[in-house]
């Protein structure tokens, strides 16, 4: 495949484009609501109406407003149909001819959509993820060509550094710096890994990107491989995402067929192959060293760093590991230049961030906003606030490693530093909204139970600490805890946070510490006086007589 072939493919696809397009969401959420049948019925209805030459029914990826699925949007008039059933299909086709349909619609320019800035999700809901030509027509793979033929690896690394992109997996480590470290590490064999293990409960950003625009991630990985000198890529994806796995398999096969993966890409002396590695249900495998252990066929137990994966990773070789969303930003940065990216967002957090908005909120779905957007804009203007007459009580970011932002602090801008100052983290992008009906002690217990279940067991602070913290939270939540228990809980949080081997243990106390910081009164209201409670050591109730 040469550049001229690419341009030719793009031109042909655009020339064959039909005037009217009906885009049907075929991402996991809408698929579980029967969107495949909707698309099939629309196809049939188009044929029956004799409009096959003028109307294209395109299966696309996530159209973002998941709570109103299945979604169908018409181009060019932008009518957005919601909760579409297969029976609605004939009406929608008739509407194209001018007959108004009774199918419910929603405003495609509502704040939920209008306030988004799409970089990672630019193609999501627009291109057909199972057709590489659809991606190429949207300027796909032109960034890879530019990177391979007009930029040296050093220039690529500098571009990433200048752009200010930080890792989107949660830790926010400067991506350019990581690429530079891998590039500088000695060794002829280097690996490029994409962390698609999205284990945070409540997060579905990476799933959507992989189901909706898999080529964007492949292109980003290939560009990264050129920058660091790698030739083999792995995408570690969790087994709970079968649709994303199948879309990736299709994408890899199609890219290989066109010579956009494999040997001599764009006839440059650059080869890059991508293999999928399926996870098996271990949250800890989202941690980079545990992930690499899993790729090597072992138990997902982390190891201490240094050495960092950038110096010694998979099978001892320098390895670049980045999150799905990080790679998805790369083609746009190469195409538009680092200054363009750096002009979006906040001072030290450049670009945009994709959030999965869920919980007690009217508009559940995916949003991509510039860094620095206040949380209030996201949950109230875009999310529509809590359903019913309820008030938002808190917004949880960062999943089981994060913390909550209470109602009075909703004006906090969404950027790495502001969130960590509040004891939370950006995390991978899960944003759960809670209303007054949510018990914050229960939430802390829920997250601790998760960390306890997912602890790999290697280091004592996490293995034993999460169990003890969970027991204490259990006791407090069941009104059997005392002030001494609470003090002990805080001590343990501090110890586990500072002595655990990996990020799982180090951040497991965060939800507890965060809820203690902002909702301490809820804990204190549940405490019992000392003599009515059980002692810490035994499980047997202390009889009244003995206590006195």
């Amino acid at each position: 495949m040469t550049f001229l072939d690419l341009v030719d493919l793009r031109r042909k696809h655009k020339a064959n484009a039909k005037r009217i397009v009906l885009r049907c969401c075929m991402a996991a959420g809408c698929m579980s609501l029967n969107s495949r049948k909707v698309k099939e019925r629309l196809d049939e209805a188009v044929r029956e109406a004799g409009l096959a030459g003028v109307v294209e029914v395109r299966g696309v990826g996530c159209m973002k407003l998941c709570c109103e699925g299945p979604l169908v949007q018409a181009e060019p008039d932008e009518t957005l149909y919601i909760k579409v059933t297969p029976e609605n299909a004939p009406e929608i086709i008739q509407a194209l001819k001018g007959k108004p349909a009774s199918v419910p619609t929603t405003n495609p320019h509502a704040p939920f959509f209008a306030k988004q800035k799409l970089i990672v999700l630019a193609n999501s809901g627009r291109v057909n993820p199972e057709e590489i030509e659809s991606y190429i027509a949207a300027d796909g793979y032109s960034a890879l060509h530019h990177a391979l033929t007009e930029m040296t690896p050093k220039e690529l690394v500098e571009t990433l550094v200048k752009s200010g992109l930080r890792g989107r997996g949660g830790a926010g480590f400067p991506t350019g710096l990581k690429w530079g470290t891998v590039a500088k590490s000695p060794g002829t064999k280097k690996y490029v890994i994409c962390n698609a293990d999205e284990g945070d409960p409540g997060a579905f950003m990476d799933r959507s990107v992989l189901e909706s625009d898999p080529h964007c991630v492949l292109e980003g990985m290939a560009i990264a491989a050129h920058a660091v000198g790698g030739d083999q890529g792995f995408i570690y994806i969790r087994a709970e995402y079968p649709l994303a796995i199948s879309r990736l398999q299709i994408a890899i096969r199609q890219a290989k067929t066109l010579g956009l993966l494999g040997a001599g890409i764009f006839e440059a002396p650059f080869s890059f192959n991508v293999e999928l590695r399926i996870g098996a249900g271990a949250f800890v495998c989202g941690e980079e060293t545990a992930l690499m252990a899993s790729v090597e066929g072992k138990r997902g137990a982390p190891r201490p760093r240094p050495p960092f994966p950038a110096e010694s990773g998979l099978w001892g070789c320098p390895t670049l590991i980045n999150n799905v969303e990080t790679y998805a930003n790369v083609p746009a940065i190469v195409r538009n230049g680092p200054d363009w990216f750096a002009s979006i967002g906040a001072a030290t957090s450049k670009g945009t961030k994709v959030f999965a908005l869920a919980g007690k909120i009217r508009n559940t779905g995916l949003i991509e906003v510039p860094m620095g957007t206040p949380v209030r804009v996201i949950v109230e203007e875009m999310g529509g606030g809590a359903p019913g007459a309820a008030c938002i009580k808190a917004v949880q970011t960062g999943g089981p490693s994060g913390g909550c932002i209470p109602r009075d602090l909703l004006d906090t801008p969404v950027d790495y530093e502001s969130l960590s100052k509040l004891g939370s983290i950006m995390g991978s992008g899960g944003m759960i909204v809670m209303d007054e009906g949510t018990n914050m002690v229960e939430i802390a217990r829920f997250f601790m139970e998760f960390c306890m279940d997912e602890s790999c067991g290697k280091c004592a602070p996490c293995r034993a600490g999460t169990v003890q913290m969970h027991k204490l939270l259990d006791r407090i939540a069941a009104r059997r805890g005392t002030a001494r228990d609470l003090a002990r809980l805080e001590e343990l949080c501090d110890m586990v946070k500072n002595t655990s081997l990996c990020g799982l243990g180090q951040t497991a106390p965060n939800p507890t510490m965060s809820t203690l910081r902002f909702f301490r009164q809820e804990y204190e209201a549940l405490l019992q006086p000392e003599r009515h409670a059980r002692s810490f050591q035994t499980e047997a109730p202390v009889p009244e007589a003995a206590a006195r």
Binding site: S32, P201, A239, A280, A282, R299, I432
Partner: protein, 183 residues
């Protein structure tokens, strides 16, 4: 004696007698699933780091990973059984116990939890009288919990026999169970 040579009268069973260790682990059952598994092992070039992929395939073919199967794989990949067992028991996805005819997976991710998934779980537990991770005594239904299947937009979510289903309530879950196991 090479059975492949023309004119050789060595029957396959005689060859098996020569290696008792091999015969203890090779399945003379003629079960086709082992052939498929063997082909998969070959595809991965019997590489030890392909263990997790192989375990996925084995569980897909056999429904669960029983001890015999783990020993078989340990032998094929030249790994100590302790390693294979250690990996199989580490990952939540792998099950060493047989599954029921129907599987009910309830998502307990944060978004689903906030939307009441715990009440759905309580109702299902009460009806089936088993804990998550167990199968009913008549082997009809297995109950599992997942920590997030990434379908937060349709919370609370459940997966019934591999089909993701949206917006569950205690009643809708019980209705589904009734379909499988009329009360």
């Amino acid at each position: 004696m090479n059975p492949a040579l023309p004119g050789s009268t060595t029957a396959p069973s005689a060859e098996r007698k020569h290696s008792t260790v091999r015969s203890a682990l090779e399945h003379a059952s003629g079960d086709k699933r082992f052939k498929i598994l063997e082909a998969h092992l070959k595809k991965h070039q019997y590489r030890q780091d392909a263990l997790i992929e192989i375990l996925h395939k084995a569980q897909e073919l056999f429904g669960y990973l029983e001890d015999d199967l783990l020993l078989f794989l340990a032998f094929k990949l030249k790994l100590p059984p302790s390693r294979v067992y250690g990996v199989a028991t580490f990952y939540h996805f792998f099950t060493l116990k047989p599954k029921g005819e129907h599987t009910c997976v309830l998502c307990l991710g944060t978004a689903c939890y906030v939307k009441g998934a715990d009440k759905v779980l309580e109702a299902v537990k009460a009806r089936l009288k088993i804990q998550p991770g167990e199968t009913t005594a008549d082997s009809k239904v297995s109950l599992l919990t997942a920590r997030c299947i990434g379908a937060c937009g349709i919370a609370p979510a459940a997966v019934y026999d591999g089909v993701v289903t949206a917006r569950q309530t205690p009643q809708s879950a019980l209705d589904k169970l009734n379909e499988w196991r009329p009360e």
